[in-house]
């Protein structure tokens, strides 16, 4: 496909869409689908057909963000409706010509929508994820054409470096540096892998991006492949995300059909194919060497680094591994320039970050904000604060590798460095708000139970250490621990951190250490007074699933 042909598809699609006087968009991402948004969409389609209104189109689109109020429907880009049911189809169509249906209106002039800045999610909620034409009409694949037609691979790497983009998978490694290492590496063949094994409990950004805008990720991978000189790509996606898998399969097929994947793309020397590989429920596979082992069909166990995958990765060849959100950030950086991206955010953390807001906030869902937004803005403005009568206690970021931050950090601007200084990590972007009904010792035990179950068993500090740390935490929550146990817990935390093979073991103590640091009083009450201030511990369900 040439740039002209791409423009032609875009124009045809725009012309097709403008022939409709009205457009009703229905969210068909997993959040709303689990609230039966697909039957709402069918009901709207039936109603349109019954009325013979061929000037009205009903369009399935990606995530609109406010998952808590789904199913969400947007009429003619100006009225958002929440909690829409099948029976509301007729009134929504009536509302197109007259007044909006008051009882269903979801106000969009609130901080939840106003405070966001959408770059990664710019197409989510606007574009039909199952139609490549719609993506192209929204400017899709123009960044790829720009790269293939006007830029050298080195220029692409320089542009990404200039943007200051850092890996969105958790560690925050500079993306440009990673790309340049793989570009310089020599090998018979190079690979690009998209890490879509979103394992952190409480994180669903990647799922949403894949379900809402799969072509964006493919375009990012293509640009990366051109920059580093790779010819084959893999998307490693969790088997627990069936809808994301389905949409990726459709998107790959469409891109192949249009000649955007395959040999000599757009007449250039870039040849690139993408294959899907399904994860099988192992958290450790988010670690890059474990992920490579899994793509190769083996048990997902990490190996010591170096050699880093950039030098010796998949099948022993240089391999670039980036997270979904990182790839999704690439196309806008190329389109608008690295300098544009670098204007957004803080000194060391550029751009925007997508967060999955969950837990005890009113507005649970997906939000994208500039780096440097404070936790208070996230929780109390965008998140709408806590439910009636509940008090803020902590916010958990970074999943099982992160920490719990108390009230004193609410005014801290969120970026990689600040979170690390406070004892947590950015992680992939899960943000879980906890209120006074959560016991922080129990939360620490919950995460340790997770790490214990997910430890691959290869190195002893992690395999045995997580077990013993969990045992001590279990004793504390069962009110049978002594102060000696707490000292031992700290000692073990230190050991795991310094001697484990991979990030899973090294960061497993983080939830314990951060709660010990900020909620020491709660530990003391459990140990000395045999009391749980939140009233959680000691009422039975102490053994989690698995």
């Amino acid at each position: 496909m040439s740039p002209d042909e791409l423009e032609q598809i875009a124009e045809e699609e725009r012309a097709r869409q403008t022939q409709f006087k009205h457009t009703v968009k229905v969210c068909v991402a997993a959040g709303c689908v689990s609230c039966q948004s697909e039957s709402v969409k069918s009901a709207l389609e039936r109603e349109v057909a019954a009325r013979g209104k061929d000037h009205c189109q009903v369009k399935g689109v990606g995530c609109m963000g406010l998952c808590a109020e789904g199913p969400l429907v947007v009429a003619d880009d100006h009225t958002m409706y929440q909690h829409v049911g099948e029976s509301d189809a007729a009134s929504i169509l009536d509302g197109l010509e007259g007044k909006p249906v008051e009882r269903l209106v979801c106000p969009t002039d609130v901080p939840f929508f106003q405070k966001q800045k959408k770059i990664v999610l710019e197409n989510s909620g606007n574009v039909d994820p199952e139609r490549i034409e719609d993506y192209i009409a929204a400017g899709g694949y123009t960044a790829l054409m720009k790269v293939l037609g006007e830029m050298t691979p080195m220029q692409v790497v320089t542009e990404v470096t200039r943007s200051g983009l850092r890996g969105r998978g958790g560690a925050g490694y500079p993306t440009g540096l990673k790309w340049s290492t793989v570009a310089k590496a020599t090998g018979e063949k190079k690979y690009v892998i998209c890490n879509a094994d979103e394992g952190d409990p409480g994180a669903f950004m990647d799922r949403s991006v894949l379900e809402s805008d799969p072509h964006r990720v493919i375009e990012g991978m293509l640009i990366a492949a051109y920059a580093v000189g790779a010819s084959e790509g893999f998307i490693y996606v969790r088997a627990e995300y069936p809808l994301a898998i389905k949409r990726l399969k459709i998107a790959i097929k469409q891109a192949e059909r249009e000649g955007l994947l395959g040999n000599n793309i757009s007449g250039s020397r870039l040849s690139f194919q993408i294959h899907l590989r399904l994860g099988a429920g192992a958290f450790v596979c988010g670690e890059e060497t474990a992920l490579i082992a899994s793509v190769e069909g083996r048990r997902g166990m990490p190996r010591p680094r170096p050699p880093y995958p950039a030098m010796e990765g998949l099948f022993g060849e240089p391999t670039l591994i980036n997270n979904v959100e990182t790839f999704a950030s690439v196309a806008p950086i190329i389109r608008n320039g690295g300098a544009w991206y670098a204007q957004i955010g803080t000194e060391k953390s550029k751009g925007t970050k997508v967060f999955a807001l969950a837990g005890s906030v009113k507005n649970t869902g997906l939000v994208e904000v500039p780096m440097g937004t404070t936790l208070r803005e996230m929780v109390f403005e965008i998140g709408g604060g806590l439910a009636e009568g509940r008090h803020f206690k902590a916010v958990q970021t970074g999943g099982p590798s992160g920490g719990c931050l108390p009230e004193q950090f609410l005014d801290m601007p969120v970026d990689y460095e600040n979170l690390a200084r406070a004892g947590s990590i950015m992680g992939s972007g899960g943000m879980i708000v906890m209120d006074d009904s959560s016991c922080m010792v129990d939360v620490a035990r919950f995460f340790m139970d997770f790490c214990m179950g997910e430890s691959c068993g290869k190195c002893i500090p992690c395999r045995v250490g997580t077990f013993h740390m969990h045992e001590i935490l279990r004793k504390i929550t069962a009110h049978t621990a002594t102060t000696h146990d707490i000292a031992q817990l700290e000692e073990l935390a230190d050991l795991l951190r310094n001697t484990s093979l991979c990030g899973l073991g090294q960061s497993a103590p983080n939830p314990v250490l951060s709660t010990l640091r900020y909620f020491a009083e709660e530990y003391r009450q459990h140990v000395d007074k045999h009391q749980c201030p939140a009233g959680v511990c000691g009422n039975g369900h102490k053994d989690d699933a698995e």
Binding site: G202, F283, G430, M434, D544
Partner: protein, 170 residues
């Protein structure tokens, strides 16, 4: 013997036509060992679980030791070596669901069905599973009834749902 075993193509464990799906996956993966996980996914999707015969057949075709096939099948939580019940109920125990009461949901299932995650009721009707995170955190606590995700589930709603399964004679 050892050499001829490689020369003859392993035959599927039974005449069941569904093995063709498994064969197709292995062919797509070039009958290479790198296709092991993909193939096990197909077996599980087609037959519902992985039994020893299936593992033997897949291992022989992809030329990996049975120990490696078994190792992979047991390493990943997604694979099951036991047949599932007629219905499955997956309770998400991710962080958001946990703090929103996933524990109470598991308690309710234990009371109602007498099973804990990983178990199937003795009549083979319902399997209960725990999931690390379904990515439906905005709707916590979440449960998957067969393949359908339900959000903001209460213990009462959960009990009623499984009771309908139990009562329904198939």
């Amino acid at each position: 013997m050892a050499t001829t075993a490689y020369l003859t193509r392993p035959v599927p464990p039974s005449a069941d036509k569904r093995w063709r799906m498994v064969e197709a996956t292995m062919r797509r993966m070039g009958n290479q060992s790198t296709g092991l996980i993909e193939t096990l996914h197909t077996v599980q999707e087609t037959f519902g679980y992985l039994d020893l015969d299936a593992l033997r057949y897949v291992a022989a075709t992809l030329r990996v030791p049975l120990s490696r096939a078994y190792g992979v099948a047991t390493f990943y939580h997604f694979f099951s070596l036991k047949p599932a019940g007629e219905h499955t109920c997956v309770v998400c125990t991710g962080t958001a669901c946990y703090i929103k009461g996933a524990g109470q949901l598991l308690d309710a299932l234990k009371k109602e069905l007498g099973v804990t995650p990983g178990q199937t009721t003795s009549d083979g009707k319902v399997s209960v599973l725990g999931a690390r995170c379904l990515g439906s955190c905005g709707l916590a606590p979440a449960v998957v009834y067969d393949r359908e995700v339900a959000g903001k589930v209460t213990p009462q709603a959960l009990k009623e749902h499984v009771a309908r399964w139990k009562a329904h004679v198939s």
